[in-house]
Amino acid sequence: MRADAPMRGFATALQGGMGTLWPHLRDAIGARSRVHGSRPLLTATEFQEELAILGLSGRKFVPSDYADALSDYLGISINIHVIPDDWYPELSRRLAISGRLGELRYSEQLTLAAIFVPGSLPPLVSTLTILHELGHLAAGDVMIVPSEEPGVSHGPHAEGVTHTTSPVRQGKKLARGSPFAEETLREREANMRASYALFAGCLGSDSPYADAMFSVL
């Protein structure tokens, strides 16, 4: 391939150089260090940062507290509906047959999210299912711009394997990184968020990750 490169003066070269350097400098001092590209899976410490942003770090909380805090932060209304089996017996059966435990519906126009879980779920599973669906909202999975490119996982990285992320629509999300392009990874990360949230909510100030936020030196 052959390209005709234009003649460049000193000012143009300097401008170009600054243009190249600026994103690195912005990235170095900026708070949002991860842009769309690739990233590893969420760690417990990164989740603790999210909790701090929500004001829940070091506090005991239940899924409804997490939902309320997330709702305030994202500026959307989050409703959790635990549907008793007597009301709609088919819900449990349909979800069970489809291999799911709950469902998240999100309307960007109405700034409304609704989580549906059957009342017959065992308490621990119910709690984790609600936290899982809230995890999708926190990660910004509902703002993904559909792409035809398949998600690619990169080789071992300094912090582990990195995976391709997806571009997202304009909007607020809690997670610092973009959502993964691959659906299985998004589900896996939502599961991780749920388990981190369960333990963080149980342990409150006894969580080692919460303590680490007050012992930085």
């Binding site: 701090a52 004001g55 239940v62 059966r93 435990l101 599973v125 342990l203 930085v216 030196l217």
Partner: protein, 463 residues
């Protein structure tokens, strides 16, 4: 010995004592990357002051170099602290930012800018010092205004970032629910950074006095300021050493928590959700009749709600484990035994077992949350394994409660388990077994009566 050498000797002695104190007390009690870095800085400062005290440095440019070299370690300490507060040293410091910085994006950005601005101003000050040399380390000598500019270029940003870090530590220390040790730790660091900010302010004033105050008063003021600076430096080193030596061990270790997340929680969630799917999808048909009878029998014998839930969970588990359909293929006695053993591991740690709980309902803060011990699954797993896994039972039950026998009788009646399992009831359990048989019989009778009544009423309404 000149005044410069004398002053360098005093400061060098303080630095060397601080280095020894730091190495023996702070590093021996708690070695962090920061404490090693701080110790290296102290050693460097000691060497610089030692050099000045030993050799008579008469060139003004050399004085500028020495002055900047003595300021550099403090600048680096301030930069390091700011970066650590904003989590910008993932390999050298903690992996989390301090809580107040995590919540405030602008504050975090400001803290992250510290090394760039501080080193930039040190660079500018160095250039200014070389272009306009001044008697930088002759402490009591009058100095030109260029000296004040050079000093201010370093001290003002240093004071600003040190004050900012002190404020952030103070905010962290005032967080609600903080452990006492962490409170004192943050307070110590806040004081330490305040002392550094005060030293920066004092140094700027000191430079101003050297430039603008006349001979007579200058000496008195400078000596007073020097004493003040020495006191501040000693206090700063002491509070930093105290802060670093305050060891805090969390109640629950991170690696243990990770093991629970990937081991127990994952296993229990998988087990319970697969069981729920199998039951909800209708894979275990025989379960419905048996569950109704168990519930009724428990009510007949006034069995507590929690025990009734255990009986229901047991019959559900037994039915799912004995069901040959593909939906229940993952719910095996092996999986049940593995989960039971993981639960037992958690229950072995009293502190942890009491802390890990989950709501029995969504907005149920008022009601009692479930724990590994109190959740019906734990006892139900044991009971189900006892009923099914008769040839490889690792968890034999010593005494079997009434709810167990109700579940067993019901499972045998519904042909979920082989009725012959109940043929050899241990003598110690015979009374409970008989009570369960009677309760189950009464439950079946009343269920049949209710069913007959319903049918009769239906025929009466629709002749």
């Amino acid at each position: 010995m000149s005044a410069v050498q004398h002053q360098a000797l005093v400061l060098g002695a303080i630095s060397s004592v601080a280095f020894v104190f730091f190495t023996y007390f702070a590093l021996s009690s708690r070695r962090t990357t920061f404490s090693v870095f701080a110790a290296c800085n102290l050693l460097f400062v000691t060497m610089v002051f030692g050099t000045v005290a030993t050799f008579d440095l008469s060139s003004e440019r050399t004085e500028v170099v020495v002055a900047i070299m003595t300021e550099l370690p403090v600048v680096l300490i301030v930069a390091w602290v700011c970066l650590a507060l904003a989590r910008r040293l993932p390999y050298l410091s903690g992996t989390l930012p301090v809580e107040p910085a995590a919540r405030r994006t602008r504050l975090r950005t400001l803290l992250r800018s510290a090394p760039y601005f501080l080193l930039f101003f040190v660079g500018v000050a160095s250039v200014a010092g070389f272009v306009f040399p001044s008697p930088a380390i002759r402490v009591y000598a009058p100095a030109p205004i260029e000296f004040f500019v050079m000093k201010g270029l370093i001290m003002v940003p240093e004071g600003f970032y040190a004050s900012l870090a002190a404020l952030v530590f103070l905010m962290a220390g005032r967080s609600s629910g903080l452990k006492r040790r962490l409170y004192f730790k943050n307070l110590a660091f806040s004081l330490g950074m305040t002392f550094i900010a005060l030293i920066a302010l004092e140094s700027t004033v000191f430079a101003g006095v050297r430039v603008w105050v006349a001979d007579q008063n200058r000496l008195i003021i400078l000596k007073t300021l020097n004493t003040f600076e020495t006191c501040l430096a000693i206090s700063c080193i002491i509070v930093f050493a105290v802060g670093l030596s305050l060891r805090y061990t969390p109640a629950v270790a991170g690696p243990l928590l990770q093991r629970l997340q990937t081991g127990w929680l994952h296993a229990q969630e998988q087990f319970e959700s697969q069981e729920w799917r199998a039951v909800s999808a209708g894979a275990a048909q025989r379960l419905r009749d048996a569950s109704g009878a168990v519930e009724m029998a428990c009510r007949v014998r006034n069995v507590s709600q929690s025990d009734m839930e255990k009986a229901l969970a047991t019959i559900r588990l037994v039915a799912v484990m004995r069901d040959p359909s593909s939906e229940t293929q993952h719910i095996t006695p092996e999986a049940a035994r593995k989960l039971y053993e993981l639960q037992e591991e958690i229950l072995g740690d009293d502190v942890l077992a009491s802390k890990i709980s989950w709501a029995a309902g969504l907005r149920s803060r008022a009601s009692e949350p479930q724990t590994v011990k109190s959740a019906p699954l734990h006892d139900a797993l044991r009971a189900a394994l006892d009923l099914i896994d008769d040839n490889a039972n690792v968890v034999p039950m010593e005494t079997r409660p009434l709810w167990y026998w109700i579940a067993a009788v019901s499972a045998a009646d519904a042909r979920i388990i082989d009725p012959s399992v109940l043929a050899s009831v241990p003598p110690g359990d015979y009374d409970e077994y008989r009570t369960a048989v009677d309760a189950y019989g009464a439950a079946r009778t009343s269920m049949q009566t209710l069913e007959n009544d319903r049918e009769r009423r239906s025929q009466h309404d629709n002749p």
